[in-house]
C-alpha cells in the first residue's frame, strides 16, 4: 500500500517536472498564456472588489459573455464523446490512441466552464452554499443544481479515465477493464447529459419565449458535435507537428465525417427555428427579430449573427465537398465552424433571450473591457491546462516517460524531436 502510494507520488512528481521542461517554443507559448492569465486575474480582482458593475451587464441583460462562453465550452467538453463512441463502440483503430487527447480536452473545457460560472457569481465567497450537506442544494427543482452535479461528475469521470489509463501506460501494464470501461460508458451518457442539462437551464424558463423552445436542446447537441470535433481536428494537428506523435490523416478524416454530419444537422435545425419564429408572426418573435433583423432601431447583434450564419454555411459547403479531404480546406472549415458556433451559441443565444425584457424594454449589452479580459484570462488558463496535460501525456504514450526509465532520464526539451523522429518513421 505504502509502496503503491510512493510509486504514484513519483509518477506525479515526474509528470510535474516534465510540465516545466520544453524548448523555446514551449516556453514562449506558456509565457504568453501566463501573461494573459495574469491580466485576467487582475481584471477579476477588480470585479471581486467593486462588483459586477465593472461588466456590461445590467438588470435588463443579466447574463453576458461569461455565461455565453460557459455554454459554448460545455459543448466542447461534451464533444469528447464523439471520439469515445467510435473507439469504444465501433472499435475504430485510427482514433484508438488519440481518444485520450479528446478526453483531456474535455477536462480542460470543464475547468474553464466552472471558472466561467464562478466569475459570473455576485458572491463567489458563498459557493459553499451549493455543496450538499454543508449548504442547501435546490435539487431536483433547480436546473442549475443539476448542472453543478453533471459538470463536476463529468470532470471526475474524465479525470479518472485519463489518469488511470496514463498511469497504466506509465507502468507498462494492461489496464484492468472493470476499472475503466464502466466509467467510459457512463461518460458517454454523461456527455450528452451535461449539454442537455445546460440547454434545459434556458428551455425551462417560461417567461423567456426565445429560450422556451424544445429545439434548443437538440441544437445544442448538434452545434457541440460540430465545434468540439472541429477543435479536436485542429488540436491533433498541432500535437502532430510539435511532438511527432503518430496521428494519421485517416483519423482526422474520421473526425471530419462527424463534423460534416453534425454541421448539416445544425444548419437544418437553425432553419427549423427561424421558420417557426418568423412565419407564424406572433409577438414572441421580438427576440429573434432583434437578433436577426434588429428591433426598433436596436441591432447590435445583427452583424454578428449574420457572420455566424455565413461562416456556418461556408463551412458546411466545404465539409460536404471533397476538397475538405485535404487538410488545408478542412482546417478552414473547422475554424469557420468554431467561430460561427461560438457566436451563434454564445452571444446569439444568451443575449437575445434578454432583449426585449419581459416588460418590453430594450436595453442593449456590450461586454466591457474588464469582462473581456477576464474571459481571455480563463481561455488562456484552459489552454495552459490543456498544454500541460499534453506535455505530460504524450511522452507517457510514446513510452519515453515510464516506470522503466525512472531515475535514468526524463524527456528533456531537446530529445523530443530526436526520439520522436525515430518513432514516427517506424
Amino acid at each position: 500500500m505504502i509502496t503503491a502510494a510512493r510509486n504514484y507520488l513519483v509518477f506525479l512528481r515526474r509528470c510535474a517536472r516534465v510540465a516545466f521542461v520544453g524548448d523555446w517554443r514551449y516556453y514562449s507559448w506558456m509565457g504568453v498564456l501566463t501573461v494573459i492569465i495574469l491580466l485576467g486575474l487582475n481584471a477579476y480582482a477588480k470585479q471581486f472588489a467593486h462588483g459586477l458593475i465593472v461588466t456590461g451587464m445590467s438588470d435588463e441583460v443579466s447574463w453576458g459573455v461569461y455565461i455565453a462562453n460557459f455554454t459554448f465550452l460545455v459543448g466542447v467538453a461534451a464533444a469528447a464523446v464523439m471520439m469515445v463512441i467510435p473507439v469504444y463502440i465501433y472499435d475504430n483503430e485510427e482514433l484508438h490512441d488519440l481518444v485520450i487527447f479528446g478526453e483531456l480536452l474535455a477536462v480542460a473545457a470543464i475547468i474553464m466552464c466552472l471558472m466561467f460560472v464562478t466569475v459570473d457569481l455576485g458572491r463567489p465567497d458563498r459557493f459553499w452554499h451549493l455543496i450538499p450537506g454543508l449548504g442547501q442544494m435546490n435539487f431536483p427543482a433547480s436546473m442549475l443544481s443539476w448542472d453543478v452535479i453533471v459538470l463536476n461528475g463529468y470532470l471526475l469521470l474524465n479525470v479518472h479515465i485519463c489518469g488511470y489509463l496514463l498511469y497504466c501506460r506509465y507502468q507498462n501494464r494492461k489496464p484492468t477493464k472493470w476499472f475503466y470501461i464502466p466509467f467510459v460508458f457512463s461518460a458517454i451518457i454523461w456527455a450528452v447529459s451535461i449539454h442537455t442539462v445546460t440547454a434545459f437551464l434556458y428551455v425551462g424558463l417560461g417567461g423567456r419565449p426565445f429560450w422556451n423552445a424544445s429545439i434548443v436542446g437538440p441544437r445544442f447537441l448538434a452545434s457541440a458535435f460540430t465545434a468540439g470535433p472541429a477543435i479536436i481536428i485542429l488540436a491533433l494537428q498541432i500535437i502532430r507537428s510539435t511532438t511527432h506523435y503518430r496521428i494519421t490523416d485517416k483519423a482526422l478524416l474520421t473526425l471530419r465525417g462527424i463534423v460534416q454530419v453534425s454541421m448539416i444537422i445544425n444548419v437544418f435545425l437553425l432553419v427549423c427555428e427561424v421558420f417557426k419564429e418568423f412565419y407564424s408572426g406572433n409577438l414572441h418573435v421580438a427576440s429573434a427579430k432583434y437578433l436577426f433583423l434588429g428591433l426598433h432601431g436596436h441591432h447590435a447583434l445583427v452583424p454578428w449573427i449574420w457572420s455566424a450564419i455565413t461562416f456556418n454555411l461556408i463551412a458546411m459547403v466545404l465539409l460536404v465537398l471533397p476538397v475538405s479531404r485535404g487538410l488545408r480546406y478542412l482546417n478552414v472549415a473547422c475554424v469557420l465552424s468554431i467561430v460561427g458556433i461560438w457566436i451563434e451559441k454564445g452571444m446569439g443565444l444568451v443575449i437575445p433571450g434578454f432583449i426585449p425584457t419581459p416588460l418590453g424594454a430594450i436595453v442593449e449589452y456590450t461586454p466591457s473591457l474588464n469582462e473581456t479580459l477576464v474571459c481571455f484570462g480563463i481561455w488562456a488558463f484552459g489552454l495552459l491546462c490543456y498544454t500541460i496535460f499534453l506535455r505530460m501525456s504524450v511522452p507517457i504514450l510514446q513510452g519515453r516517460l515510464s516506470k522503466a526509465n525512472e531515475g535514468i532520464s526524463e524527456p528533456g526539451p531537446n530529445d523530443i524531436v530526436a526520439e520522436t523522429s525515430v518513432t514516427s518513421h517506424s
Binding site: V21, K46, F48, L121, G122, M137, N138, S142, P358, N414
Partner: protein, 316 residues
Amino acid sequence: MPAPAPHDPLTAPDAGVTRRSFLRTSAVLATGLAAVAASLKPLFEMEDITSAQQFMQKYYKELTPEDMAKVLQRIEGEVEKEYGVRPHVRDLRPMDGVEFVYALNLSRCIGCRKCVHACVAENNQSRSPEIQYIRVLKMPHGTFDLEKGDHNYASEQVPEKGFFYMPVQCQQCHNPPCVKVCPVNATWQETDGITVIDYNWCIGCRYCEAACPYWARRFNFTKPSIPAERLNPNMSYLGNRPRSQGVMEKCHFCVQRTRAGRYPACLEVCPTGSRKFGNILDPNSEISQILRTKRVFMQLKEDIGTNPRFFYYFDV
C-alpha cells in the same frame, strides 16, 4: 538541432539541488509570486470585507431563535457602524390565517410614480446605482402589448390623454419561477404568499432574474449607497435591511409593515386610491370584496401559469 543537454538541471535525473538550479528556481518562483501579488492589487480597493460571522452564517430556515437573536443584533451593529443610525431589525414571521393579495385599479392610476419613490424610501433601496422595485408603463390606449409601453416617460403632467398607466412589481406568484430555479433555496414563498430572499444566503447567480416573467428582481451590481439621513431604521431581516454587494432583492409587500398590521408604502402614498391590499382569507376584507364584485381584469401573463397574487381591475 537534437543536441542533448546533460547538464540541464531541470532534466537531469534526481541530481539533487545544485547552487545554480536553486538560484534559478527561486528567481522564477519569486517573479511568479510578485506577478500574482501585483495582479491581485485591486482587492485592496474592497469596501466591505465579509466578516467571519457573515461568512459562516447559517441558512435562514436553520437558524434557531437564539441564533436569529444574535444575527439580528449583529446586523443592527453593522448598520449602525456604517450609517451612524441604530436601526430596529426584527424577524417578522407570517401570521396564521393570512394570505396577502394586491389589486390595482387601472381606471384610476394616473402614472405619477409616487409609489415608486415611496417604495425606494421605505425599503432602503440603493440610490446610486438606482434600484426600484416598481416600474410604471405608459401604455397607449387600445393595446396590451407590453412592448408598446413606455418605461422612461417624462411627462410634465400626468395623466396624458390617449394613455393608461400600468405599474408592475413583484406579482407574488403562487408558482414562482424564481423560487424554482434558485440553486441554493435562497428565495422561497412564505405561508402568507410573500416570496422573500435571504440576502445572506444568495450567491448572486441571477438565475431568478432570468426566470422572472415580470422583471421584478433586481441585482446589486455594486455596493448599494443610501444617504445615512434617508435610512429607514424600521427594518426586518427578510425585508428592507440594507443589502450587500452581489445579491438579489425584490418587492416583498413591505414585510416590515404588512406583517405588523400596516399597509405597504406604495399603497399609503397613492394619491388616487388605485392600490388595494389585504388578506384574501378574510371574506370581509376589502380585497376579498374587490375580487368578488369588481371587473377583475386580469393577472399579468396568465398564460405562463405563474398565478399571481397581484390583480389588475377596472372600476365598474
